[in-house]
């Protein structure tokens, strides 16, 4: 049997095992739920409706539990194997990063951006370039900053920041910038534009996000692995969130750092070569992408029709369908991203993802997609659909139990409540046990433990994260329910730039965002206390978070609380204790940018472009090398010239500025006028 066949057979066994375990857990739990409901005064209509919802929700958590268990067992064994190999003094295979002699072709590193902070974007690119230089790999990569920015001021700042970057690193090649006049098909269109124009120059492309960061060693290893396997279409390196200080961000960072590995490992083993792509921090085979991944426009209008928003899952499914492998490199580290810092920012991002994932329902039944790809799409949909199902199920349970408590005269009340408690406990165990396993896994290594503040702080941090996740889960469920209902009612979202900086949450903001949720929570608490006080303890974990959502939102966005916890060693992640060199480079680049940022915030960049020879030269050079002439009609030019003559750059209407910036001849005429 070849190694490929062995791998396929082992993946198949793992899939069967996960399916069997999930099915078994769901069957037992659903049967128990129905029995308990029946014992409590017979099954009423509310409980009857709740049984299939319970089965769906339980299947969702049971499946995650099985994957986490699988990941835990695999990682535990791997680490024991590693320790044994070191003890036996057997040579441990080093991470190969040398690409010399393999190919002269350079790999493209794409950074698609959309109204992001130019300073942060360029600092990230600079950090990766410096790290590549340290590994002597800089000449193996070309960076492309692919701007879809619609704000003309930010666009000019991007150009100036790009120019500063090339000047500071003394580059004449290897870091490119292009701006797209129209952001057709958003990020997917941005990448497709690159593939069509420059894709033939590269065998592979590494796709990043504006806040992505990958070390030079990992970039090199990603390319090496792609070269080793011709059928590998996408290699996804799981990104870990870092670099934020608010309480909410630190909770996410800690959770991803401690609990993330077992879930990702389990998912990777289960998916095998039919894994998924998360849209960034991954390397793709360019030609395969060009041949198979031009996405269709869905029939119907947005939100569920039109351009595909969550393109990554579909691209992975298309490549798998075409016979390529999509794998997740769970053993590669130093792959980072940043996370939202407040509840509202997180919800805003989730709304985009929710709409994108719900769109996939139109592709679920597409012909010739592999079954596992359909399952990935279903999981993406379920990630958001689970919330309205949960909210509905909770409502039905409350109603069902109130009816029971009014009518109930049976003799098995205590037995039934203990049965309900058992189901509740099993559900909690399935949610919490993976956290315990993750902590155990960290405790396996002294170093890993130290990188999270030691055993005591690790345990304390885990408990803190668990408490907050319980408090936040009903709030997020309500948000998700609203998003799903809005999408199904045909309300499309506005695609705005992601809020990435730490701006905190004021009490007035929190009040306006969460007042409805708070009042709804108070109403439910009052109704329960009035009609079924015995049920209050059951629902209190859910209601506390909802009723106190306003102070919770303020606390979550607080940088002060996040930093205070850090100072006592809570919620620590490895990159805070022992930052890798790429993170250190980023930190230094951001500090350098701070001084210029103050200056750049005060500049009217449009006026500067027209008056300042250097800004104009940078813009003109970029336009000449990336954009075909987009001359505006003569009457529009005349009108702009007249407006400029009477009131300068300020007099040029905002809506005409982007068109003017693309018409380099007209812009030159205005620039020459200012130099007289």
């Amino acid at each position: 049997m070849t190694s490929q066949a062995l791998l396929a057979s082992s993946t198949s066994r793992i899939r069967s095992l996960v399916a069997l375990m999930t099915l078994m857990l769901v069957t037992i739990a659903t049967a128990s739920f129905a029995t308990v409901a029946n014992n409590l005064g017979g099954v009423n209509y509310f409980e009857l409706a709740g049984i299939p919802l319970f089965a769906i929700l339980f299947a969702w958590i049971a499946f995650s539990f099985c994957l986490a268990t699988l990941g835990f067992v695999a990682l535990w064994r791997e680490r024991i194997e590693t320790v044994r190999r070191v003890d036996d003094a057997a040579p441990v295979e080093p991470l190969s990063i040398g690409l010399e002699g393999e190919s002269r072709e350079r790999t493209a590193v794409l950074m698609p951006i959309y109204n992001e902070s130019p300073d942060r974007v360029m600092a990230g690119v600079k950090a990766m370039l410096l790290d590549l230089r340290e590994h002597s790999l800089q000449d193996k990569f070309d960076f492309y900053i692919l701007s879809d920015t619609t704000n003309h001021g930010t666009w000019i700042r991007e150009e100036v920041a790009w120019s500063e970057l090339t000047r500071s690193l003394d580059l004449t090649d290897g870091v490119f910038y292009r701006h797209r006049p129209h952001n057709t098909c958003r990020k997917a269109g941005n990448i497709a534009d690159f593939v069509e124009r420059w894709g033939s120059r590269h065998e592979f492309m590494i796709v990043l996000d504006a806040d992505s960061l990958i070390s030079g060693a990992t970039l090199g290893e990603m390319v090496r692995r792609m070269r080793q396997d011709d059928r590998l279409g996408i290699l996804q390196v799981p990104p870990v969130p870092i670099g934020r200080s608010s309480l909410f961000a630190r909770l996410q960072q800690f959770a991803a750092s401690v609990y993330g590995p077992i879930f990702v490992k389990g998912f990777s083993l289960w998916a095998g070569g039919e894994g998924n792509y998360w849209g960034h921090n991954a390397i793709l085979r360019v030609e395969a992408f060009r041949m198979h991944c031009d996405l269709p426009v869905l029939p119907g209008k947005p939100p569920l029709g039109g351009e595909i928003l969550s393109h990554d899952f579909i691209e992975a499914a298309l490549l798998v369908q075409a016979g390529y492998k999509v794998e997740i490199a769970t053993d590669l580290g130093d792959s980072y991203e940043e996370c939202p810092t407040t509840l509202a920012d997180y919800a805003q991002r989730d709304q985009r993802w929710c709409q994108g994932n719900l769109q996939h329902s139109k592709l679920l039944a597409s012909e010739n997609l592999r079954p596992l790809s359909r399952l990935h799409l279903s999981c993406g949909i379920m990630a958001y659909l689970a919330s309205p199902i949960w909210v509905l199920f909770t409502g039905l349970c409350m109603a069902g139990m109130i009816v029971d408590t009014q009518d109930f005269s049976g003799t098995s009340r205590i037995d039934s409540y203990s049965g309900a408690l058992a189901i509740f406990s099993v559900s909690m165990v399935m949610l919490l046990l993976p956290k315990l396993w993750s902590v155990l896994l960290v405790c396996q290594s002294q170093r890993e433990m130290k990188l999270r503040g030691g055993l005591l702080m690790l345990v304390m941090s885990s408990l803190l994260e668990t408490v907050f996740s319980v408090l936040l889960s009903p709030i997020m469920a309500i948000y998700h329910t609203r998003f799903v209902v809005a999408a199904l009612r045909g309300k499309s979202i506005r695609w705005s730039a992601q809020q990435r900086d730490e701006h905190g949450v004021t009490w007035s903001d929190a009040l306006s965002q969460f007042v409805v949720i708070t009042l709804a929570g108070m109403l439910v608490t009052f109704l329960l206390a009035q009609f079924a006080p015995a049920l209050l303890p059951w629902f209190s974990p859910l209601l506390v978070g909802v009723v106190f959502s306003i102070p919770l939102a303020v606390a979550m966005g607080s940088r002060k609380i996040g930093l205070a916890l850090r100072s006592i060693g809570a919620l620590l992640i490895p990159s805070e204790i022992d930052p890798p060199s790429v993170c250190q480079h980023l930190q230094r680049a951001l500090e350098d940018a701070k001084t210029t940022a103050r200056y750049s915030d005060q500049v009217d960049w449009f006026e500067d472009l027209i008056h300042n020879p250097r800004t104009f030269a940078i813009h003109a050079a970029i336009q000449k090398s990336t954009v075909e002439g987009a001359a505006m009609p003569i009457h529009q030019f005349k009108a702009l010239e007249a407006a400029f003559a009477t009131g300068g750059a300020d007099n040029i209407p905002l809506e005409s500025r982007s068109a003017l910036l693309h018409d380099i001849d007209t812009l030159k005429r205005l620039h020459l006028q200012t130099q007289q």
Partner: protein
């Protein structure tokens, strides 16, 4: 702070233009020596061929040429470099199968079932009339 070549009071008209061109290039980011050389080169070219600037002032004509040369990379300025490699255009090939979306078929079925219902209703109405 940029420095001009000579104090303005001692300059002739052409020297004044040369000085302004020089200052423009320094503001673009050229070194002083490079600015002097490039400015003089372009002005000499214009002086030897007056047809190049018969309808515009000499300074404007010179700046116009210099702007183009910097943008094309003929004059090298730190930080003003080629922003993209040459293109070799190859179109994305459409992903064919997902275009045959099942929902389209569902729509077709829905359409067909509507027609069947309409036919049945008509037949039923006709039967009632009879």
């Amino acid at each position: 702070m940029q420095t001009s070549l000579l104090s303005e009071s001692k300059l002739t008209g052409e020297q004044l233009i040369a000085d302004r061109v020089y200052q423009y290039l320094v503001r673009c980011g050229l070194s002083q020596d490079q600015a002097r050389v490039e400015g003089q080169r372009v002005l000499c070219g214009l002086a030897s061929d007056s047809t190049k600037h018969d309808s515009v002032p000499l300074f404007t004509a010179a700046i116009s040429i210099l702007v183009d040369e910097i943008a094309c990379g003929r004059i090298r300025v730190a930080g003003v470099v080629r922003s993209a490699p040459p293109e070799d255009r190859r179109e994305m090939r459409a992903a064919l199968l997902p275009r045959r979306i099942a929902l389209l078929r569902i729509d077709a079925w829905a359409d067909a079932s509507r027609r069947v219902m309409a036919f049945a209703t008509t037949m039923f109405a006709a039967r009632l009339e009879r």
